[in-house]
């Protein structure tokens, strides 16, 4: 056992960055054999395209969706180029190739969340017999954390770069915009412009954080673009916005030892099941995160000592103020579509959001497609963009007809106590099907590992929404507890296979896990029975 361990360790030393496992690490290579036939056909078609355009596919945006489409397209024999360019944030933060998820999204946030969980574990470990020298004096070193996180990101940037080269995808560090429907101008860092022509163009530019139009916001505020590489520890932080980005940031900052406050304009986690959302907020509050409800910031001023004086207005129009070291805006994201000069090709955008209402990823300009966060009313999630990008490439270059299914996509909010869900929220289920057509099952539960350190279990809660009659098909599953992402992923597959409530109940659980609670669920909301578990070891 020991020798094996040391061998593994050694191999880690030997090769620093073989291939970090990221969303983009694609498995599609294995499928290539089966595609060789289709490839021949496509190559033939592409020879014709070559005569007219420089590329079969030009991708604007080197994020998850764009890169997935590009890789799949070259696998199918297409000639592909990718343009990627990061405009600095108002604070001046920039990053490398790979898009939001890798650089300023899922990856750094999961790592910071993990840092927070480890801190929690240090405190709990004393109850399990670990002789921890006074856990209260253990502090997190912000610089060490951000350096480690940024180093991982840079290694992923490099691997992405190598992958593009190996797959012969041409990469340009340029900001693209439309000249006509087959021509893209790419503005390089040095101001020079390069012209690219392509038969098909894929918009995968994603979005960037929005800032409110109030004095001091752009000058003194930061966003998720900046927090993961912030050179100085954030200190007392005000997070404005209570979407998942805001809650996650406030959650890990609080756990890392910084005073964190969330300012909520109206509701927490808009679009998510509101009972679950409020439970998450309640749990965060219990852990020490402050919430200011129904408030809007009105002004940020920098004081002589460098700290920030924030003014806000509550629902009674009363003005309040407090001093913070950092103000982080997480009020939503804005797609980067206007920068593409859509007017040059008559590309239609939704006026209110500037998003693209694509049908099967095709815009109103037939050879121009879009995937990812720029899409109107589609989940803004990396795996969604990747899947849509890959399927689109197969339809364009592999004679596939398979369309992206945007329904029942699972997701997880990495709040201190995580929240994972798939399918409909309670509100949506009622709105779509009517209250009397659905049954809501729910339960509070106690994770086994919470007993010894006497961790608070009051917000460990699950909910299953199913049809009340007929086959009792499951419409939605919601889980608050440890490892919610890991728990909900498998159930998402089950729902994709039309999971019914009787089948769920017929599944034998794994004991002792938190996921097994779904197989034990039986109390309906309609019954009015207490969903709390028995008070002692059952």
């Amino acid at each position: 056992m020991k020798s094996r361990e040391s061998k593994e360790k050694k191999s880690w030393y030997f090769n620093c960055c073989k291939k970090p496992q990221t969303m983009d690490s694609d498995l599609s290579d294995q499928e290539n054999y089966t595609k060789s036939l289709e490839k021949l056909v496509t190559e033939q078609e592409n020879i014709e395209a070559d005569q007219k355009f420089m590329y079969d596919l030009l991708v604007i945006g080197g994020g998850s969706g764009g890169l997935a489409a590009a890789k799949e397209a070259v696998n199918l024999g297409a000639k592909v180029a990718v343009l990627d360019f990061v405009t600095p944030s108002p604070r001046g933060t920039t990053w490398g190739l790979g898009g939001t998820c890798v650089n300023v999204g899922c990856i750094p946030k999961k790592l910071m969340h993990q840092a927070a969980l480890l801190g929690e574990a240090i405190h709990e470990s004393a109850a399990y017999g670990w002789q921890v020298p006074d856990p209260n004096i253990i502090k997190n070193d912000w610089q060490a954390l951000t350096t480690a996180v940024q180093n991982h990101i840079k290694s992923v940037n490099w691997v992405t770069r190598v992958e593009l080269r190996t797959k012969k995808i041409e990469y340009f560090n340029a900001l693209g915009y439309f000249k006509d429907q087959h021509t893209i101008c790419g503005k390089m860092k040095n101001g020079e412009e390069k012209v690219f022509t392509a038969k098909n163009i894929l918009i995968a530019v994603g979005g960037r954080p929005r800032y409110p139009d109030i004095p001091g916001a752009l000058e003194y505020g930061i966003s998720s673009d900046d927090i993961f590489s912030l050179e100085k520890a954030p200190g007392k932080t005000l997070v404005i916005g209570a979407g998942y980005i805001g809650l996650e940031c406030a959650g890990f900052l609080n756990s890392l030892g910084y005073d964190a406050t969330v300012m909520v304009r109206s509701i927490v986690l808009r679009g998510f099941d509101q009972q679950m959302a409020n439970t998450i907020a309640q749990e965060m509050e219990r852990r020490g995160v402050h919430f200011i409800y129904q408030a809007k910031p009105s002004k940020i001023e920098k004081q002589a000592d460098g700290r920030l004086l924030v003014h806000w207005v509550d629902k009674e129009r009363q003005t309040h103020q407090d001093i913070f070291d950092t103000v982080l805006f997480a009020i939503g994201r804005k797609p980067l579509t206007e920068e593409l000069k859509p007017e040059n090709i008559g590309l239609q955008l939704i006026p209110e959001t500037a998003k693209i209402d694509a049908i099967d990823e095709q815009t109103n300009v037939p050879n121009v497609y879009a995937v990812g966060d720029v899409l109107h009313k589609k989940p803004e999630l990396t795996p969604v963009a990747i899947h849509a990008g890959r399927l689109l490439a197969r339809r364009l270059f592999g004679n596939s007809t398979e369309q992206m299914d945007y329904v029942n996509v699972a997701t997880t909010v990495f709040s201190p106590l995580e929240y994972g869900c798939v399918g409909l929220s309670e509100e949506a289920a009622i709105a779509i099907h009517g209250e009397d057509k659905i049954e809501i099952y729910h339960a509070y539960y106690k994770p086994t590992e919470f007993f010894i350190p006497q961790k608070d279990v009051s917000n460990c809660y699950i909910k299953v929404i199913a049809f009340r009659n007929g086959d009792q098909r499951v419409l939605g599953m919601h889980f608050i507890g440890p490892n919610a992402g890991e728990v909900i992923q498998g159930f998402a597959a089950a729902i994709k296979c039309n999971l019914t409530f009787p089948k769920l109940k017929d599944t034998v659980g794994i004991h002792p896990t938190v996921a097994e609670e779904f197989t034990r669920i039986s109390v309906t909301k309609r019954s009015g029975l207490d969903p709390k578990p028995q008070s002692c070891c059952s």
Partner: protein, 136 residues
């Protein structure tokens, strides 16, 4: 323990190798950092003596351990072999042209041609063997 002691060595060597003081210039002239592709052309491809090229990244821990080791091995050769250090993030195309995937990578070059390459962290003995071949 192992890592800690190595890190100490690195710090000691590193402060010597990366010192900017002009007085040091002569002492460390067997190792240099490549600025750009032109610099690589002038000082590596057109070098009269063999050059070991160390492709490294600032974010890569094994690289940080390897560089001081190869520096000390090269320093013993008194100019018969040179060391060129290439930061793959600053000179990405150069690194990609030499098919650098995982780092660290050491490449032995003479008259502009690649003679040999080793990938990954190596101990000092291995490095000596690698360098000895080109310092005779």
């Amino acid at each position: 323990m192992f890592r800690t002691s190595l890190r100490t060595v690195r710090t000691a060597l590193g402060s010597k190798a990366f010192a900017n003081a002009p007085a040091r210039e002569q002492a460390v002239s067997t190792a240099f950092k490549v600025q750009d592709p032109k610099d690589f052309n002038d000082r590596v491809k057109n070098s009269k003596v063999p050059v070991i090229v160390d492709f490294f990244a600032t974010w890569c821990n094994p690289c940080r351990m390897l560089t001081p080791r190869i520096e000390s091995v090269i320093a013993e050769k008194q100019g018969k072999v040179l060391l060129a250090k290439v930061d793959i993030d600053e000179n990405s195309d150069l690194a990609l042209d030499y098919e650098v995937g995982s780092v660290p990578v050491l490449i032995a070059m003479k008259d502009g041609k690649v003679l040999d390459r080793i990938v990954g962290l190596q101990d000092v003995d291995k490095l000596k063997q690698f360098v000895d071949k080109y310092s005779e």
